[in-house]
Amino acid sequence: MRVGVVTFPGSLDDRDAMRAIRLAGGEPVALWHGTHDLDGVDAIVLPGGFSYGDYLRCGAIAARSPIMAEVIDAAHSGMPVLGICNGFQILVEARLLPGGLIRNDHGTFIRRDQRLRVESTDSAWTSGFEQGQEITIPLKNGEGGFIADEATLDRLEGEGLVAFRYLDVNPNGSLRDIAGLRNERGNVVGLMPHPEHAVEPGFGPTTPAAMRSGVDGLTIFTSLISSTLART
């Protein structure tokens, strides 16, 4: 399975995302923001970083880059698309997911190993988790506060579109502790924490078992590969 990772000017975690795809058994494919070429990939990851230096709004300029026309079309026709951190901001700016992401309520950048609860396994990127499973993956953002109006929040909750929720600490003032969303169809998922940084023992979050042994993020990528294989 070929999974494209789009590099924008200012992307940081594109290589980490490609490594996570490889460790999950997929074939990562580098895609470039300035083209209209998806190179025949089966799924797409929009990686973390600071595209366009967060100018205008986080993700706003990247969401209007050439390749996003194809990404948006592909998402509408059901191709799995994952947005991580800045990628989540790009999905929101591209209106593929609702709401907005604003500066953290405490005004500072935060980096921590974050506990999350998987709230929806009904997506291409979360099907390998248990419903309600608690996982720990790194979080690092300055503008990760998820907001939406009350009606939208109620709809997201009612339709089960909240994919991940913060546990223990709400690190950025996100309303209803929302850390990630999925769309109605389940092919598009966006989240602020970074699953691609918790995929290999020795390089992930510290767990009670051993230092840096956390690999909870890998399930996001293995979910994609097994759910897509199951469909074809």
Binding site: A60, I102, G107, A148
Partner: protein
């Protein structure tokens, strides 16, 4: 050269952490009379040629679609400014 000025503010009901930080600094400096501070954006679009109604309408659309995000921000004004000094000689208020 005519300039179209677009002003965007974070929605009043949302927390503006940047404005809050500035307000806290002002209070620390003894400016008790200042209550809240909110920080917005001002765009100056320099136009080659005349500003006509269709162009202004296109910019209003652009202000709503790209220069602001309606989920978190409001477009406060879109107007034509012909003067060199910013803030002066404002003409043709459209909102």
């Amino acid at each position: 050269m005519p300039t179209i000025v677009v002003e965007v503010m974070p929605k009043a009901e949302l927390l503006d952490p940047a404005g809050k930080a500035v307000a806290a600094a002002l209070h620390r400096l003894g400016h008790e009379a200042i209550g809240n501070v909110r920080i917005g954006k001002r765009f100056e679009l320099h136009v080659d040629g005349e500003v006509d109604a269709p162009l202004l309408a296109a910019v209003e659309q652009l202000a709503a679609d790209m220069l602001s995000n309606g989920v978190i921000e409001d477009v406060v004004s879109v107007r034509v400014s012909g003067a060199e000094t910013s803030g002066a000689g404002v003409a043709g208020e459209t909102r």
